[in-house]
Subunit: 222 residues, 2 copies
């Protein structure tokens, strides 16, 4: 049952899953960008993944995960997020560094160790950045939430999730105490694409429009 997949294949499937969850089409260029390889390299890997029935591909039209491919992607994402949380909880790795470490560890985690870590953490459902952890059976809850950048001023919101890709942003947010589950008020959106001002723990902080795209929130139930 267990096929041995290369780290490269695992990273491609994960990237395709991630692009699928935010973009309409999963284009060669999007994957090229995300994985830091040339478009030509993406095309050749796409061919291989198609042959293995892990994705479908219409020439020039982008790719799509098959159920088998999606299952593997979620397996790797589960590893990634469990490891992130484990590193933070068990070894005190700061939340802006866990992503980078997990990027390597996700590929060498045995099923046995996955279970031990899961148990140690008390079967958690979200990682340190608020992203949901896929279940062992290859399913994952999808939540409904808004990007901070789209929220109207004067709204009380609760942070749901923060992108884990930019360590510098994470350090800034950690510095002002903005984590998943934090409640805050959107005070104003400065004109001319200026920052969004939020208030938490009695102080006001600016958050750039671009950063605010990567902070997901839900309206606080008052």
């Amino acid at each position: 049952m267990e096929k041995m997949l290369s780290q490269s294949i695992e990273d491609y499937l994960k990237a395709i899953y991630e692009v699928e969850s935010s973009e309409e089409k999963v284009s060669t260029s999007a994957l090229s960008e995300k994985l830091g390889v040339s478009p030509a390299s993406v095309t050749s890997m796409v061919k291989k993944l198609s042959e293995r029935k892990l994705i479908t591909h219409k020439r020039y039209q982008g790719v799509k995960l098959t159920p088998a491919g999606r299952k593997i992607a979620l397996e790797i994402i589960r590893h990634h997020r469990l490891v992130e949380l484990y590193l933070k909880e068990a070894l005190g790795v700061p939340w802006d560094q866990v992503h980078q470490e997990a990027e390597k560890w996700e590929h060498v985690l045995s099923e046995d160790l996955e279970d031990r870590i899961d148990k140690f953490l008390g079967y958690p459902v979200t990682d340190p950045h608020g992203s949901p952890i896929p279940r062992r059976d290859g399913t994952m809850i999808v939540r409904q939430c808004d990007a901070l950048v789209d929220v109207e001023p004067d709204t009380l919101v609760k942070v749901v999730e923060v992108s884990d890709h930019d360590p510098e942003l994470l350090r800034y947010l950690g510095g002002i105490g903005l984590y998943p589950e934090t409640e805050m008020t959107v005070v104003s959106k400065q004109p001319f694409k200026g920052p969004i001002i939020v208030e938490l723990t009695g102080k006001e902080y600016p958050i750039g429009r671009n950063a605010a795209k990567y902070i997901l929130v839900e309206k606080a139930n008052n």
Copy 2:
């Protein structure tokens, strides 16, 4: 300063170090055997490692680590042994499984994580099988001890180290309570290459000659 070395190179250097510590010469065939690759593959990697000045090589005469190569080997062995101990202590992985896991994790451990694990464990000096953990500076204590198979009957000995390579042996030894630091008496050596009988916690157990080569002991001070 930090060169990025492939997992393969790291495994070769580690294997060379390990063969060096037990055999006179580090032969192509010994490495081939240990790494599970063909002799021809060893020769070609040996050429590469020589060019990088990590080993010296006299044609048909075996290889030797340079100081630079030895330092890297010990770095990997340090990772390996810290991870083994960590998995056992922090996640309860049984001692017969830690080696297999560590074989993969040793290559993806950052210096930061290495330090965190070291600290968590209280700066340990031996791994679960009793092998010394190299220090950060690339040095390691070498101990003087005897293989159990060479000990005369009627001697009280203390277990120093057990080979981590055979899970089945480790399970057997764990089952009879034979771990590093355990004291036991060598009762007899059965004739015709028969087993060695040891006594611990009041009971006698047989240990095959071959297994006894991989159990290192010292005379108990008493």
